[in-house]
């Protein structure tokens, strides 16, 4: 099956080589980081998690979102998702791999990573996060291999894969919950110390992931003879709508608790994000962009006539993805450290090497998505004709 990723037209190979180039550049920057240390990033004593960990957090959400197709299809017989579940699983695999890569590039001693398994620590949420992510990767590899392999042979998949697929549903929810647990149990970081963090993570994941999948569905229509189906895309649009509504609602709940209680410790983080604090306001324009994108997305998604128009749905998906990426990929992690434990506002921005390493990791993910989707599409096309 894997050899199908090596058969493609000119545009395919140009895309692959662009990605390989970005990966190569990212690797060079990473070697510099490996030799010198994480000092080449924008991280500092008071802000010890930044762009890498934020991308990890965002991508765990994307990985978990495959469940939003598996669940309706396998638990509720929503037949229209039949063709799309493989696309969700083939997005989940590179997403989890990117998560692991972002953790790897963020670590101070990456070659000691096996210590997490040699000295398992059951009271550490990071241990459970590695277990959950590793397990989810294995699950998706097995599920996609078995179901696609069966499709290639033109037969039904074996019965024993069904309970494994059902297992992937709570497992998908748990990977993002345990990632939220990394943050939500830390007594010293009041921005993260909220019960609503895990629900917010899940809601934003189930909005941004399916939004990306809808965009991929449109792309597939353009580059191949396949069509995931108007029904499937329309239902996914509905899922994105509900998830985005819940996500925005939860954010508003957080704002209410912070500002109505008027407790400085709770308010400070949101003041920093939306208005600036102590004269520091790097993230303010970004956060307001995220807000505007969210409002636009809700207007477009909540109006049925607009949502049913596929071009407008595409725009809405871009705004959903962009808004949530800014929220999780820029705002969420860094703000946990601002103000510092001493009440000081110290800012962070990724450096150029840090950014290029991240681009390299994203390119690795994009390459895997490209390869896997090529395999799935070529099998489908063959089967259809």
């Amino acid at each position: 099956m894997l050899e199908r990723a090596l058969i493609g037209g000119k545009k395919y190979w140009i895309w692959v080589f662009i990605l390989l180039g970005l990966i190569f550049i990212g690797t060079l920057f990473y070697l510099r980081q490996f030799n010198t240390g994480l000092t080449i990033t924008g991280l500092k004593r008071d802000i010890t998690w930044g762009f890498y960990i934020a991308q990890f957090t965002f991508l765990v959400g994307v990985a978990a979102s495959a469940v939003m197709m598996v669940l309706p299809y396998y638990l509720h017989n929503a037949k229209e998702f039949g063709k799309m579940t493989i696309l969700g699983e083939f997005l989940a695999i590179p997403a989890v791999i990117m998560c692991m890569l972002f953790i790897f590039v963020d670590m101070g001693q990456p070659f000691r990573i096996l210590n997490v398994f040699l000295y398992p620590t059951l009271h550490s949420m990071m241990f459970w996060d590695t277990v959950a992510l590793g397990g989810y990767l294995l699950l998706n590899i097995v599920i996609s291999q078995v179901t696609l392999g069966a499709e290639k042979k033109g037969i039904y998949p074996p019965k024993w894969i069904k309970p494994i697929i059902i297992l992937s549903i709570p497992w998908a929810v748990s990977i993002h919950t345990v990632t939220a647990f990394l943050y939500a149990g830390l007594p010293g970081r009041s921005f993260w110390l909220t019960a609503v963090l895990a629900p917010r993570f899940l809601a934003s994941a189930f909005a941004s992931g399916p939004a990306l999948l809808i965009l991929f569905a449109f792309l597939i229509r353009k580059v191949s003879k396949l069509d995931p189906g108007k029904e499937a895309i329309s239902k996914m649009g509905l899922i994105v709508t509900y998830a985005m509504v819940i996500n925005v609602f939860l954010i508003l709940m957080e704002l209410f608790t912070a500002f109505y209680s008027n407790i400085p410790e709770h308010m400070h983080h949101f003041q920093y994000l939306f208005f600036g604090l102590d004269g520091k306001s790097t993230l303010v324009p970004w956060m307001w962009t995220s807000v505007i994108l969210a409002i636009i997305s809700l207007i477009l998604l909540l109006t049925p006539s607009l949502r049913k128009n596929e071009k407008i749905l595409g725009i809405a998906c871009f705004t959903v993805f962009g808004s949530i990426w800014i929220d999780k990929g820029l705002g969420m992690v860094v703000t946990g450290f601002i103000p510092s434990p001493f009440g000081k506002v110290i800012e962070y921005w990724p450096t150029f090497p840090e950014f290029m390493i991240s681009v390299g990791v994203y390119a690795i993910g994009a390459l895997i998505v490209t390869g896997l989707y090529k395999i799935a599409l070529s099998i489908r096309e063959e089967f259809q004709t």
Binding site: L2, L38, R45, G108, S124, L186, P187, G188, R189, F342
Partner: protein, 258 residues
């Protein structure tokens, strides 16, 4: 036909996993070397080491940095030119930043902007220990929150978990930035977290922590909370003390006499 490509990849994957853990499993066959450990007569042994900082004495000396200098010298703590790489084990912050919940508009002027020595609190219920995925940081039997530099993977989860900002990460190799290397104590390498260790290597030789010894005002008092006769228990009985962020439940063991 053979096992085929897929079968080969499966077996290779399993073999790689087995290899990764192979060394540990191989150790089953290693013979145990028995080591007879002992204590010296002079070793200071305690069950719950803690410290009292007498701010009345500390604030007598304006601009004094003797505790910080002593600690950083004895432990080869580097001094970086770029502030973002900063590593510190014990340092001074103002009262309003250290005790934010206690500070108000009319805080006693003498103390409002005064520098307070801060260090790892060696909490009884440390959140950093709770989150460490490899137990590289753990609570020793003597109450000290220990850093095992050999096991630390540099994930910085403990730094995020610490509510007091006591921990520093080595963003780069510290060796070039240590002025006079003290040969009796190792340095650290890049990629690991470090913090105050309550001078456990000095306690083993019967010496008090470097900061305690260096303070000329004798403002730092070190002792075992489980020893009812200790000086520290006497001070806690006779003076009102505050601790940093006590409501978080970490039970910090650095007590400040205001």
């Amino acid at each position: 036909m053979g096992i085929g490509r897929r079968g080969f990849i499966k077996i290779a994957g399993l073999a790689a996993l087995a290899g990764a853990f192979g060394k540990k499993t191989g150790n089953i066959f290693a013979t145990e070397n028995i080591i007879d450990t002992t204590q010296t007569k002079e070793s200071l042994v305690g069950k719950r080491w803690a410290m009292v900082v007498d701010l009345r004495k500390c604030l007598q000396e304006k601009g004094c940095t003797k505790c910080m200098d002593a600690c950083h010298k004895v432990h080869n703590v580097p001094a970086f030119d770029n502030p973002k790489d900063e590593i510190k084990w014990i340092w001074k912050e103002s009262f309003e930043h250290t005790f934010e919940e206690q500070e108000h508009e009319y805080t006693y002027e003498n103390i409002k902007h005064s520098p307070i020595p801060v260090l790892c609190n060696h909490c009884d219920n440390p959140p950093c220990v709770r989150v460490c995925p490899t137990q590289a940081t753990f609570k020793g039997k003597d109450g000290i929150v220990v850093m095992d530099m050999h096991r630390c993977i540099g994930c910085r989860y403990c730094v995020a978990a610490c509510p007091y900002g006591s921990r520093s990460f080595n963003w780069r190799d510290p060796r070039p930035f240590i002025k006079d290397i003290d040969p009796d104590f190792p340095t650290r390498m890049r990629g690991v977290v470090e913090k105050c260790n309550f001078c456990s290597e000095r306690l083993a030789k019967g010496e008090l922590p470097a900061c305690v010894e260096a303070c000329e005002e004798k403002a730092l008092i070190f002792g075992d909370l489980e020893d009812p006769e200790s000086k520290i228990r006497e001070l806690l009985k006779s003076n009102f003390t505050i601790r940093r962020k006590p409501s978080l439940g970490t039970n910090p063991e650095i007590y400040y006499i205001v």
